[in-house]
Amino acid sequence: MTEANATASATARRGATELAVHMEGVNKWYGEFHALKNIELSVKRGERIVICGPSGSGKSTLIRCINQLETIKTGRIVVDGHDLTAGGKNVDIVRQETGMVFQQFNLFPHMTVLENCTLAPMKVRGISRAEAEKTARKFLERVRIPEQAEKYPAQLSGGQQQRVAIARALCMNPKIMLFDEPTSALDPEMVKEVLDTMIDLAKEGMTMLCVTHEMGFARQVADRVIFMDRGEILEMGTPDEFFANPKNERLRTFLGQIS
């Protein structure tokens, strides 16, 4: 049995008993604007979720609530057994256990690629520099840019920067990975290299929530696809039923527009 398979089946076993993310009755407002409406969502360990929808539909807000980059007004979010509503220490734990990849990469421009990857493990997990660098080089290898370790982000292409961002998140050994439109800021020829990295990650059994418009990616790796509009989850299903037989009118319009 390969290492990836072992991880996957281990995750599957645990998945039977525990949820990676559980959201119930989640509501959020920005002033008057109702950004999230009664969100109910449970994600099992090892599950790959793709969230799509028009801009302003609340999909980014939804995943940003999971590591509390956004706070919610009502409802409950439990991540890997830690209730975020309890606040304080749980929020810190959840942030350590979830990795996030942003549309604009958000690499630290004043640090080398290697420093980007080692800072949080050293400062948050308290591991030694040698250990952190070993881990960082392992993950840079895995995202296929080990030779860029000593460079600064500005010296890399967009696709390379985003792969560094993925490696940086993985260096914290997260249990859940959140992707917020990871390919939207990339030139078309660089989209594939980032998606391939994400597909590899999915094959290894990582729990993933991806906000993306890459429907090819959704068909290939998603266990469930979610459609959001105006702060609501309007449809949720396996890629087959989601694409072949969309029930919601707005989803049909949306799919017509993007493909």
Partner: protein, 219 residues
């Protein structure tokens, strides 16, 4: 007659008085650097009270003349029963003044760091101290160098007001020499020249840093 001519010895007395201007500027700048950092951090704080207090502090010092700030510290402290000499009064007032202005300058620099930087650091589990120390302040400080040096120039010139509360620095020494020699053009020409020699290189430095740090790539 008690009037003596303006000669080399008078010239040197004025030039040597510049050490007090430099000392006062250095103290105010160092003190203001520490105070300004706290003011700036309070201004970008998530909690309401530090933000309000820092804003109030800045508004007061930005909205009143430096001379009044010097008077209030000097006379105010003496009225309150603290015997305070001009030297200490000038140092305290200029430190508070510099704290307010540097605090506001640095707040702008911290806010100029793209919000995604803070989000990325937060998402990695880094807490406030580490976010500030390793992510936000290093990036803010690159932007801050030029306006900070620019403010230092203002501060050096501002120390001349300490002469009015009787602190013998460059300007006050000029007044004293002028009273003895009665050659105001020579005396204050010399005083102005010394300020210029102190400030001009700093202005040039600030301008060069501005162009250097405003380049698009990080390094």
């Amino acid at each position: 007659m008690l009037i003596r001519p303006f000669g080399w010895s008078e010239f040197w007395i004025i030039v040597m008085a510049a050490q007090w201007t430099i000392a006062l500027s250095a103290i105010a700048f160092a003190g203001g650097g520490v105070g300004g950092l706290f003011i700036a951090l309070a201004r970008v704080s998530d909690s309401r009270w530090p933000r309000l207090l820092a804003t109030g502090f800045i508004r007061i010092f930005q909205g009143t003349p430096l001379l009044m700030q010097l008077f209030l510290v000097f006379f105010g402290m003496n009225i309150l029963g603290f015997a305070i000499n001009p030297w200490l009064a000038a140092a305290v007032a200029l430190t508070l003044h510099a704290s307010a202005f540097l605090g506001e300058i640095w707040r702008g620099c911290i806010e100029a760091v793209p919000p995604g930087q803070r989000e990325a650091a937060t998402a990695l589990g880094l807490r406030y101290y580490n976010r500030m120390r390793y992510i936000l302040l290093p990036q803010a400080s690159r932007v801050a160098v030029a306006p900070t040096v620019g403010f230092l120039v203002q501060l050096i010139k501002g120390t001349s007001l300490a002469a009015i509360i009787g602190f013998t620095e460059l300007t006050r020494q000029g007044q004293i020499i002028n009273n003895a020699t009665f050659s105001p053009f020579m005396v204050f020409g010399t005083v102005a020249a010394v300020y210029f020699v102190l400030c001009w290189p700093l202005s040039v430095l600030a301008r060069r840093m501005e162009t250097r740090f405003s380049r698009p790539t990080a390094r």
